[in-house]
């Protein structure tokens, strides 16, 4: 290895630093996996999986999980975790349907639902920061509590939503052409936000601080960053995105039911991990999380098209996760080798 001080010609090489190359490789690897999955299912289903309607289906499915993913991804980069996103989203969706039925106009109703999300984040952050609870346990607890409220509000019924704006948000298609029906408004919004957040994460002070706190909270504190404040903000952001996911879901279904986001509750974390956000915090990014999301959703959609039962979807998601974490392990081993 070179032992020279920085000179102009070595500056040129900086873009190829080891870790960023590996991280990029990780995203690339996942992208590759995405195409492999796409091709395999296309062949197996004799082209049915590539039908424009089906592609639209994938995007539709992704809207909800894209909201779930971006909040939890930010939190995970900062070294924390939130298991309550599913319960939070389900409760917000249910709450929204409930207040709409009670006659509250749409705009305040949505604000109220988002407040529930903020409250979730606030409670999670308080448990973690004030009572020093492990995020895993704290958010598990709030998740149970949230689910309890869902059951109490729903009382085993489905609450229909008749608001037309909600229908538009959930199912209206934009950007359609020829026989491709387009992308749902909600999915567009989710992807747009994901792009913006991805850019902010890399370009702003706050974004950088998320990485710093995740990389070493002690050192960050000694450099004048307040890890506690960061953790509050990020838990609240995560709560907000979870409620956005819940609202999107009920908008698409045009009703709220108790099942809500139960099936998708770990999709955010799974996608983030698949995309290279390590659980310890401090690395990964939105692009990776998006690719992780793509992999996850094409895979489960492919299985649906093949008529494979939902039980196998979960098995497959678990398998993917194991696969991704083995990659992480191998990557770390590789990194250690190059250092030694």
């Amino acid at each position: 290895m070179s032992n020279q001080t920085l000179s102009p010609d070595t500056v040129q090489k900086q873009k190829f630093s080891l870790l960023s190359l590996l991280m990029r490789k990780r995203t690339l690897m996942m992208l590759l996996l995405f195409f492999v999955i796409l091709v395999i299912f296309a062949v197996l289903s004799e082209g049915r999986s590539l039908d424009p309607r089906n592609l639209m289906n994938i995007l539709n499915m992704m809207a909800v999980s894209a909201f779930l993913t971006q909040g939890v991804a930010l939190l995970m980069i900062s070294g924390k975790l939130d298991l309550s996103t599913g319960a939070n989203g389900t409760l917000c969706g249910m709450f929204l349907a409930f207040v709409l039925r009670e006659g509250v106009p749409l705009f305040p109703a949505i604000l109220l639902a988002l407040c529930v999300g903020v409250l979730f984040g606030l409670v999670n952050a308080a448990l973690v920061n004030e009572l020093n609870m492990a995020p895993f346990i704290a958010t598990l607890a709030t998740s149970l509590i949230g689910t309890g409220f869902v059951i109490m509000i729903a009382q085993n019924r489905i609450i229909p939503i008749r608001d037309t704006t909600m229908h538009w948000f959930g199912s209206h298609m934009l950007l359609g052409f020829r026989n491709f029906p387009g992308v749902p408004v909600s999915a567009l919004l989710a992807f747009l936000l994901m792009t913006i957040i991805g850019i902010l994460l890399h370009m702003t002070k706050f974004g950088r601080q998320i990485y710093l706190v995740g990389g070493n909270p002690q050192a960050s504190m000694l450099c004048g960053i307040n890890p506690k404040k960061m953790s509050y903000i990020l838990f609240i952001i995560c709560g907000l995105f979870s409620s956005a996911a819940g609202i999107t879901l009920v908008a698409r279904l045009q009703s709220a039911n108790m099942q809500g986001l139960v099936a998708q509750r770990f999709q955010g974390i799974t996608a983030a991990v698949l995309g290279g956000i390590i659980l310890g915090g401090g690395s990964g990014g939105m692009l990776g999380a998006f690719v992780g999301l793509l992999v996850l959703n094409t895979f489960s959609n492919g299985m649906t098209v093949m008529g494979i039962g939902p039980g196998w979807h979960h098995v497959a998601s678990g398998g993917l996760l194991v696969f991704a974490l083995s990659l992480e392990f191998l990557q770390k081993k590789q990194a250690e080798k190059t250092v030694a």
Binding site: Q4, K13, S17, L18, M203, T204, G215, A219, L222, G282
Partner: protein, 497 residues
């Protein structure tokens, strides 16, 4: 007829550091042998080799001439070696008797633990040492001293031939120390080999028979306790040769106004700490590990709670609620543990250097990456950080370069640092880089910065600092000017009561 433990040509090195170099000595049964040396002299490494935690690069340990080979963690115990380290190896949620008999409890015919027998056997041991402990007490509820006694009884129960103590008196009160010494005498009378590691000279004269002095991983002398004195020991412990480096330092001779004044500072670890430091001054903090130097730094920096006392900085009375406030006022801290508190090991040099100045390299909403690059390159040049790129992750740098990255964080042109606190800045760094860092410290002082220089290496602190504050047990025990400082007078302020 007694046992003999021998260390033969033990060598151990870690990356960049030779912890032990060709150390040979022997210990006899019925004798207490002291291991003495400064921080980092190699005492702990030696004990860890004895307990099998660490294997030496070369050399061997023999008992009665027979080489001991460690292959499993339990081997030291099987060989009859017990090392009582500073960290307790007890299970706090279990009772005293369960701790004395770990994994060797007497069983009933049904295979369950025979509590009655366990209790009576434990009682026999407890009575032998006349301890006021009940075998049914939970270990977690015992005082630190009694927990230590339980460890000793555990070692005794195993019939250990060799018992090593690592700084056993550090957490004990005076009367507890006397009880411990009584115990050691008893073990000695039973023909055990005892190895005793301590910083406290008075104790060494009280309990030991022989003394082995280590310095920088070398055995410098082996003495009989009754034939030596404190001065001889202190002389043996010190005296390294970096003389030219220090003589060649270009120091700052223009010392300005007082920048920081600390008055009667108290925290849960510090007692009535008062001192001042002036612009352009390098103020050394000497003392043993745990003397409270780091705590002073953290308290001034707003990282630890202050229970009482006043801090005046730059002419104003200040109270820092968090490090952020201290940084804003112009104080910077380079913490003692580079890996835990200093660096983000998996992020780049660039991201590490700009950590505290992110708000200053913003243009509008976004970070100015070009400015960030320029500032990092400036730090790399100024501190001659050896790296092919500013985007190298810091884990891949040497210790010295890592330290320079931390220094670079605080002293670039976008920072308004007025007081720089360096906590053990040369720990684990090779001699060449150490010399560079000393000169950097002097250069920073020349530019008008006040520098607090905390170090456990005596030679270094008395040669680099203009004035040296010596601490012991959370209190300042004296202040010495560089011209009058000798290792002897500083060490005696740090060690003697």
């Amino acid at each position: 007829m007694g046992d003999i433990l021998e260390f033969k040509n033990i060598c151990k090195s870690y990356p960049g550091v030779r912890a032990l170099q060709d150390v040979s000595f022997s210990a006899k049964s019925g004798n207490v042998l002291a291991l003495l040396g400064e921080n980092g002299a190699g005492k702990s490494t030696l004990l860890r080799i004895l307990s099998g935690d660490v294997s030496p690069n070369s050399g061997k340990i023999t008992i009665n001439g027979e080489e001991q080979i460690y292959s499993a963690p339990n081997d030291a115990i099987k060989m009859g070696i017990s090392v009582i380290s500073q960290e307790r190896q007890l299970v706090p949620s279990l009772t005293v008797m369960e701790n004395i008999f770990p994994g060797a409890q007497p069983k009933t015919k049904l295979g369950t633990i025979d509590k009655k027998k366990l209790r009576s056997e434990s009682n026999a041991i407890i009575d032998k040492f006349a301890m006021p402990i009940d075998p049914d007490d939970l270990v977690g509820r015992l005082s630190v001293a009694h927990q230590q006694m339980v460890e000793i009884m555990k070692a005794y129960r195993r019939n250990s031939r060799i018992i090593a103590f690592d700084e056993p008196t550090a957490p004990l009160t005076e009367s507890e120390i006397n009880v411990l010494f009584g115990l050691i005498d008893q073990l000695k009378a039973e023909g055990k080999i005892i190895i005793y590691v301590s910083h406290r000279l008075a104790e060494i004269f009280q309990v030991t028979d022989e003394i082995v002095v280590l310095k920088d991983g070398l055995l410098v002398s082996q003495l009989t306790t009754s034939q030596t004195n404190e001065n001889e020991l202190i002389k043996a412990m010190i005296g390294r040769d970096l003389g030219d480096t220090y003589a060649n330092l270009k120091r700052n001779d223009q010392i300005g106004d007082v920048i920081l004044e600390v008055k009667d500072l108290n925290t849960n670890k510090l007692k009535d700490v008062s001192f001042t430091i002036r612009k352009g001054e390098v103020l050394g903090f000497a003392g043993l590990i745990g003397a409270g130097r780091t705590e002073v730094a953290r308290a001034v920096f707003g990282a630890d709670m202050i229970s009482s006392g006043e801090i005046h900085f730059d002419g104003k009375k200040v109270t820092f609620k968090e490090p952020k406030d201290a940084i804003k006022a112009g104080i910077a801290l380079c913490p003692e543990d580079r890996k835990d508190q200093g660096l983000l090991l998996f992020r780049t040099i660039r991201e590490n250097v700009t950590m505290p100045i992110l708000s200053r390299i913003k243009s509008g909403l976004f970070l100015n990456k070009k400015l960030e690059r320029e500032l990092t390159e400036e730090a790399v040049r100024q501190y001659t950080i050896r790296t092919p790129s500013i985007n190298k992750i810091t884990r891949e740098l040497s210790g010295g370069n890592q330290q320079k990255v931390i220094l670079g964080r605080w002293t670039n042109s976008r920072n308004s640092t007025k007081l720089l606190i360096l906590d053990e800045p040369t720990k684990g760094i090779d001699v060449g880089t150490k010399a560079e860092i000393y000169q950097l410290v002097c250069d920073l002082a020349k530019s008008g910065l006040a520098v607090i220089f905390i170090s456990s290496e005596l030679t270094e602190v008395i040669n680099v600092a203009d004035r040296i504050i010596v601490m012991q047990n959370g209190q300042i025990t004296g202040t010495v000017m560089r011209e009058e400082a000798t290792e002897e007078n500083v060490l005696s302020l740090a060690m003697l009561v």
